[in-house]
């Protein structure tokens, strides 16, 4: 659209009232600014327009049929009606026809109370049913450790397909077959676990129904929590505390740190540790690894390795860049390894009796926990992963009054974290944390201006520079695998352009993870205001910490003194680092990613 066209104003009439609106926009976009909000399903502002569900229809004078407002442009003199008797009836019928092919199992559904179709049916006034439609009978795909696909609940809005192809550029999903038999599925209807799916879980976030949900391990966890013969240990990721309140209908923006520690103890955990501690540990290893590479030992640019979806994506889409990726395990896996070695030794607990649980914002962490490369002497460092959503449900289900809990502290010696560990949850955070430590390690001087504004915020790709002893270090941060693709194409063509690359698989970083609470009734998935508030809650925690640099965390210093020796030492190598290999099927990113 040309700029001049955008500024031009035209007159339209909505329900007999005249408005001046910008030309070139769709009816829906215009109505959104005039105090209307047409019901919608397949539309999402961050995705291309599909016009599939027809829920957003309006009446336009002179046009024979109702038009879908999401994909019909306004024009001068247009007369729109949004609320006539016939229109309301038509909209109601459209939603009812969608319901007719949908299982009638709301009360036992994972998304009960949180389903866009359910909300829509209510707001359309569907109180009695006129039609009885054919149901779908497909088997669920349970093959993935992270994501469950249930085509029976799919209403074919296509948001997952567009999410996967346009934002993530993974293209694991497509529409197959046609008409009533259309199913959203991976290529060749192969099990998810054998497809290019990165387990990021963004399909879950944008799905209006329960056609995509996380593979839940909450039931298994409840069983384990009742087992007196094992030592139950929890760790929680930074972004979980920034969003768990939303699972209890609280506004986003408040971090629940002490409440989470208290709730997990009430659920039956013997020890509650903080993944932020191991985020600090990650920085110790990663900053040192980076400096080694700067000194010529290893490839530059170095690319971060914390995001599990990015790990799987990298092995399938960018195996040529494996040597650029940091060998550091993610903070979750580092914590798992330290608990089953250092902590077990210290407490004289048999590591085989330890049951390590990670509460993560992420569905891909479920996949990561099962990666065979991470096994230590036949043990998985992390035994089970539950998402923020599952944790929220478990807390409710166990009858814990979460919002009124008195704050408690995490357990020692793996519970203290610096501010640098906190901001891991936001895009740019790992880079910022690494800079805080690497600068000091390299120059011997303390970095005073530690808030690196250039790499904060929600721009898809953020570039920054720091100068260490006269040496310019160029960094870049990308969040969402689609943005990552753009940066990695640059890295492939011009390897000198950056020294350090941070990649997070999900939009916004971990705070926008595939395991975070569903958008509430006044929000939409991927809402930037929600992400902004979650980010702000973490930046606030960082500012409130007296220690804001990972290497100043006294418990980290003690861990190296008592156990690990030094960063990148032999024990670090065994417990905290890993390796990657190219995986099939190889992913394809179309050269010019277009809406498919």
């Amino acid at each position: 659209m040309v700029e001049t066209e955008k500024k031009e104003k035209i007159k339209i009439t909505v329900n007999n009232k005249v408005f001046k609106v910008p030309a070139g926009e769709t009816i829906m976009q215009v109505l959104d600014t005039l105090g209307f909000r047409m019901p919608r399903l397949c539309y999402h502002p961050k995705l291309s327009i599909e016009g599939a569900c027809r829920v957003c229809i309006v009446e336009v004078e002179g046009v024979r049929n109702y038009v879908a407002s999401c994909c019909y442009p306004v024009s001068d003199g247009m007369k729109i009606r949004t609320n006539t008797k016939e229109l309301r009836q038509a909209r109601r019928d459209i939603v009812e026809l969608i319901l007719d092919n949908h299982p009638e199992d709301c009360h036992t559904c994972e998304r009960d109370g949180n389903c866009e179709l359910q909300r829509l049916a209510y707001s359309m006034g569907i109180r009695t049913r006129h039609f009885k439609g054919e149901k779908k009978h497909y088997t669920k795909d349970l093959s993935s450790k992270s994501v469950v696909r249930d085509p029976n609940k799919c209403i074919l809005c296509g948001r997952c397909v567009r999410m996967c192809s346009e934002i993530q550029k993974v293209n694991a999903l497509g529409h197959a077959h046609r008409g009533f038999n259309t199913v959203v599925m991976p290529a060749y209807n192969m099990p998810f676990s054998q497809s290019v799916c990165t387990s990021c879980g963004q399909c879950i976030n944008v799905c209006p129904t329960a056609s995509f949900v996380e593979k839940s391990y909450a039931g298994e966890l409840f069983d384990k929590l009742n087992d007196p013969n094992i030592v139950k240990i929890a760790q929680i990721a930074p972004s979980v505390r920034s969003a768990i309140g939303e699972a209890f209908s609280e506004e986003p923006g408040k971090a629940y740190e002490g409440e989470m520690a208290a709730a997990l103890r009430r659920l039956g955990f013997d020890y509650v540790f903080d993944t932020q501690f191991s985020a600090d540990l990650t920085i110790m290893e990663e900053a040192n690894e980076f400096l080694e590479r700067v000194k010529g030992k290893g490839k530059l640019p170095m690319i971060t390795s914390c995001s599990s979806a990015w790990m799987k994506c990298m092995e399938q889409f960018y195996p040529d860049l494996i040597d650029n990726v940091s060998t550091c395990r993610s903070p979750m896996s580092m914590m798992g390894a330290i608990i089953k070695t250092y902590f077990a030794e210290k407490m004289k607990i048999d590591p085989a009796k330890i049951f390590n649980v990670a509460i993560m914002c992420c569905t891909a962490k479920k996949y990561e926990a099962a990666r065979p490369e991470l096994m230590l002497d036949g043990m998985n460092p992390v035994d089970l992963v539950v998402t923020t959503r599952e944790a929220g449900w478990m807390i409710k289900s166990a009858g814990i009054d979460f919002l009124n809990l008195k704050k408690e502290k995490f357990d020692n010696p793996l519970g203290h974290s610096s501010g640098a560990g906190v901001i891991f949850g936001v895009t740019g955070g790992v880079m910022e944390a690494a800079i805080r430590t690497a600068y000091e390690l390299y120059t011997g001087e303390t970095l005073l201006d530690i808030e690196v504004e250039a790499i904060r915020g929600f721009e898809g790709i953020k570039e920054g520079k720091i100068v260490m002893d006269g040496k310019e270090i160029r960094v870049v941060v990308a969040h969402g695998l689609g943005n990552a693709n753009k940066v990695l194409e640059i890295v492939r063509k011009d390897p000198e352009r950056y020294h350090f690359v941070e990649i997070m698989g999900c939009p916004g970083g971990c705070i926008g993870g595939g395991g975070q609470p569903y958008a509430g009734s006044n929000s939409i998935p991927l809402d930037e205001r929600t992400l902004q508030k979650r980010a702000e809650s973490l930046y606030t925690l960082d500012r409130e910490r007296t220690i804001r640099r990972s290497h100043e965390n006294p418990d980290i210093q003690r861990l190296y003194k008592e156990f690990l020796g030094k960063p990148l030492g032999p024990l670090s190598h065994k417990l905290l680092h890993t390796h990657y290999k190219a995986k099939e099927p190889r992913g394809i990113v179309p050269k010019e990613a277009k809406a498919r």
């Binding site: 192809s165 293209n171 694991a172 999903l173 497509g174 529409h175 197959a176 077959h177 046609r178 599925m185 991976p186 290529a187 060749y188 209807n189 497809s195 290019v196 099927p585 190889r586 992913g587 394809i588 990113v589 179309p590 050269k591 498919r596």
Partner: protein
């Protein structure tokens, strides 16, 4: 994965290459899948993978196109493809009896292939030869004015030819 004929694959690659420098090369996907089916008889997953990597089109998208059109075979087909016209003119002239005769003769249903991999049976909606109704198309040839007996004889003829 089934071993794919290298010569045919090279021919397919040549065909894809000839479409590379055209504007919007991916809009030729259907034509390229036609070529692949012509060469291999059906679209095997590894052939679709090949097309995907050559054209930089995600496999999930190719799968969507291949499953959308009934023309594309996703399973091996027989040497001869029999299409029985069930359009209006053929239908009123006894296409159903013709279809039944084929089913009896071959022991297969619509969409299936005989065990000896000689015949695959499809249904069709009007082959544009209504004057000859009822008609059956075998490979690219139309056979008109059929009765169940004539149809059985016709199939025997093809079988004897091999």
């Amino acid at each position: 994965m089934i071993a794919v004929d290298e010569g045919k694959l090279a021919e397919l690659k040549g065909y894809i290459d000839s479409h590379r420098n055209i504007e919007h090369p991916d809009s030729y996907l259907i034509a390229i899948l036609h070529k692949a089916q012509e060469l291999f008889g059906y679209l095997e997953n590894s052939v679709m993978d090949f097309v995907a990597h050559e054209m930089d089109i995600p496999t999930a998208h190719i799968w969507g196109v291949a499953t959308f059109y009934h023309y594309f075979n996703l399973h091996p087909v027989g040497k001869h493809i029999i299409s029985v016209c069930l359009g209006t003119a053929c239908y009123v002239n006894g296409a159903n009896a013709v279809l039944q005769a084929i089913k009896d003769e071959l022991g297969i249903n619509i969409g299936e292939t005989t065990e000896d991999k000689m015949f695959t049976l499809h249904e069709a909606r009007c082959l544009g030869a209504c004057g000859l109704a009822p008609v059956v198309m075998i490979d690219q040839k139309i056979h008109g004015g059929l009765t169940p007996e004539k149809t059985k004889a016709l199939i025997k003829e093809y079988r004897n030819k091999g």
